[in-house]
Structures are given as structure tokens and as C-alpha cells.
């Protein structure tokens, strides 16, 4: 791993620049969709305090999105409005289980633990990054994400132990969320992830980050007696289901041509209120 640091994107080698851009965009997209789902669950939660927590996490995610879009604008010349308005649905690189509305509370808990958790593990990999613009803000994100993980773990334990119905709902939701989350994490031996490590953009090998996530959720779910499709092999946890990365695309971090629900993008883009986007129309 290189010890060189990069004060801006223009100092990065071209292959490293593409890798950083794709990773930041995928992180921003995932945070945008997490923020939407958390925000939707401000209402209808099992308890008022759970709604406050969901709303609070939504604000965090949109705050992080703003930072990431700011970085993409300053370093890569992306326009925030273009990132939101001009991209086709199939260009979004969020974790695929966030593509659709979350129907039940167990789905919320599952994406809170697995999708937000995987993203947080990647953020910890970006701490002390050689790419200085990211290193400057990622610590604050990781600090705020700790509360998201505590919320996820608290609700996961609560549903896992409350009764057989809550346990079954949690198990179903966990299996639903885990596979697309691992798809988003992608194949560790991909050239993109190797470039990120080679240039010190991430502080360890991508495989170490992926394994850190698997070992954390595998052991945690096992302790709660929830079967999520992971098994322990020696000291590490691995999926029991196949993951075929032969068609995996690094720009969208998906194996198949799936895309988010257009209605969600309609809400996120504020399309209904387009005429009130002051300063954007002549």
C-alpha cells in the first residue's frame, strides 16, 4: 500500500480517480436511499421514540449525502442537481434492497443492520484515507453512524427474543436484505477494489473490510439465534448461498440490471414541487 497522499482528485492516477469516484457515488446513492426509508418511517413505527430515532437517522444520512455530493462536485466536477435529476434509474448504485418501499418494521431493522452496517464498515475503511478530501469528513460520519448501529442492534435483539412471530419476521427480512448487501460489497478481487487499496484510498484490503462485516453480522445474528444464511468456517463467517459476480458492474455495484422504484426517485427529486426549485428555471 502506498504512503502517498492526494490533496485533490486531480492528483490521483486516472485508474484510482475512477475507482474513488465510483465508490463515493455508490456511497452517496446508498445514503440517499437509506435517508429516504428512515424518513418514511418517522411515522408508523412500533413506538414514538422509534420514529424519532428513524427521523434522526434520516437527517444524518441526508447530511452525509450533502457532504458526499459536495466532494463529488468539488473534486470530480459532478453537479448535485445532475446527480439527482439527470441520471437514469439504472445508473443508481445504491444497495438493491433499498430499491423498493419497506413494507414491514422488520425490513427497516434489517436494512438498518445490514445495509447501513455494511456502509459503515466501508466508511471505517476510508478513515485515514490517502485521499485527503474524504479523510477530512469521514471520521464525523463514522461517529454518527455508531448511533445507527446501536439502534439496529437494539431492535434486532428485541425482535429476535420477543416472540416466535417477531423472530420469524426478522429472520425473513434479514435473509432478504443480506444478499443484495453482499452484492453491493462486490467481489474483493475486482480491479477497482485493488486500486483503492493500492493507492491507500482504503486503509486495508477490501476483502478484510468485507470479512469484517461478515464476521460482525454472522456472530451477532448467531448470538440471537437468528439464521440469516451465514455459516462459520474456522474463525470466519461466510454466506451459505451462491453469489455470482460474473456480471457484476463496478459503477452500479449490481450483478443484474435492477434499478430503484421510479416513485421513490420522484419523491427524492422533489419532482412534484419542481416549479418551486427557485433559481433553477428562467
Amino acid at each position: 500500500m502506498s504512503t502517498q497522499t492526494f490533496a485533490s482528485a486531480k492528483n490521483l492516477p486516472a485508474d484510482g480517480r475512477d475507482a474513488v469516484h465510483a465508490l463515493l457515488l455508490a456511497t452517496a446513492d446508498t445514503k440517499m436511499f437509506l435517508g429516504f426509508h428512515y424518513g418514511e418511517w418517522t411515522f408508523g413505527t412500533p413506538a414514538l421514540e422509534a420514529g424519532i430515532a428513524a427521523c434522526c437517522m434520516s437527517q444524518d444520512e441526508f447530511g452525509h449525502l450533502r457532504l458526499l455530493h459536495g466532494c463529488l462536485t468539488a473534486q470530480f466536477g459532478d453537479s448535485p442537481s445532475a446527480l439527482m435529476e439527470k441520471r437514469a434509474l439504472h445508473e443508481f448504485a445504491n444497495i438493491a434492497c433499498l430499491d423498493r418501499p419497506l413494507v414491514k418494521w422488520a425490513d427497516f431493522v434489517a436494512i438498518n443492520l445490514f445495509s447501513d452496517g455494511a456502509l459503515t464498515v466501508i466508511l471505517t475503511g476510508l478513515q485515514k484515507s490517502a485521499f485527503e478530501p474524504v479523510a477530512n469528513f469521514v471520521d464525523k460520519m463514522v461517529e454518527e453512524e455508531k448511533h445507527h448501529i446501536r439502534n439496529a442492534q437494539g431492535w434486532f435483539r428485541t425482535l429476535a427474543t420477543y416472540n416466535s412471530k417477531t423472530k420469524a419476521a426478522l429472520e425473513e427480512a434479514s435473509r432478504w436484505a443480506l444478499s443484495p448487501t453482499l452484492e453491493w460489497l462486490g467481489p474483493s478481487n475486482h480491479a477497482m477494489m485493488q486500486k483503492l487499496e493500492q493507492y491507500g484510498i482504503i486503509n486495508t484490503a477490501w476483502e478484510s473490510l468485507r470479512q469484517r462485516f461478515l464476521d460482525w453480522v454472522g456472530a451477532f445474528a448467531h448470538d440471537q439465534k437468528i439464521s440469516i444464511g451465514l455459516e462459520q468456517k474456522n474463525s470466519h463467517w461466510a454466506p451459505t448461498f451462491p453469489l455470482d459476480f460474473s456480471q457484476w458492474h463496478p459503477n452500479v455495484r449490481r450483478c443484474t440490471p435492477t434499478q430503484p422504484d421510479e416513485k421513490i426517485l420522484y419523491h427524492l427529486r422533489g419532482s412534484k414541487n419542481a416549479i418551486f426549485k427557485l433559481g433553477e428555471h428562467n
Partner: protein
């Protein structure tokens, strides 16, 4: 917001869950301070099914201040010293 309201069955599951969770709530009192030299003070209360979620809820419900320290205490664990029986000292 309308997108979430997708299935009647799921709504029933959520309502079942809500009733169950609400019936297992405990009240926790939240205490915090902003500086070492300040006394820790009562800032409010939260309802939560267990200690772990009480900590999360205390943080998310009262995070408008820059707290240095925060803790929660189960209301049932508090031993009153001066407490007229007809007036709860901790509010509702």
C-alpha cells in the same frame, strides 16, 4: 409517504408488533450535562422496551444540545426521598 402503505397484511403485522412492543415499554429518565463543572441534570424521559434501546432513544430524542455526558435510569429503580404520593416527581 404513501409508498410504504403497500400491503394490508403487512399493516396488520405492524399493528400487532406495535401493540406488543408498546405493552412491554418501560419508562427511563434521561440525565445529562454539557461540561464537567456542571451538575448532571434531568432532561426528560423516554419509553423503551429495554436498556439498549433506551440509550439510543435518549440520544436521538435529546440530541439538540452538545452533551458531554448522558445516562438513563429506569424510573422503577429510582428510590424517592421526598415524594408526595399524589404527585409524581418525574412528570407523567
Amino acid at each position: 409517504m404513501a409508498t410504504k402503505m403497500a400491503g394490508i397484511k403487512s399493516l396488520a403485522v405492524n399493528n400487532f408488533l406495535k401493540q406488543k412492543i408498546m405493552s412491554s415499554q418501560r419508562i427511563y429518565e434521561v440525565f445529562a450535562r454539557k461540561a464537567h463543572e456542571e451538575p448532571i441534570m434531568h432532561v426528560g424521559s423516554v419509553n423503551a422496551p429495554n436498556d439498549e434501546l433506551a440509550k439510543v432513544y435518549a440520544w436521538t430524542a435529546y440530541d439538540e444540545e452538545k452533551w458531554l455526558e448522558m445516562c438513563v435510569v429506569r424510573r422503577s429503580e429510582i428510590i424517592p426521598v421526598l415524594n408526595p404520593e399524589d404527585k409524581p416527581i418525574w412528570g407523567n
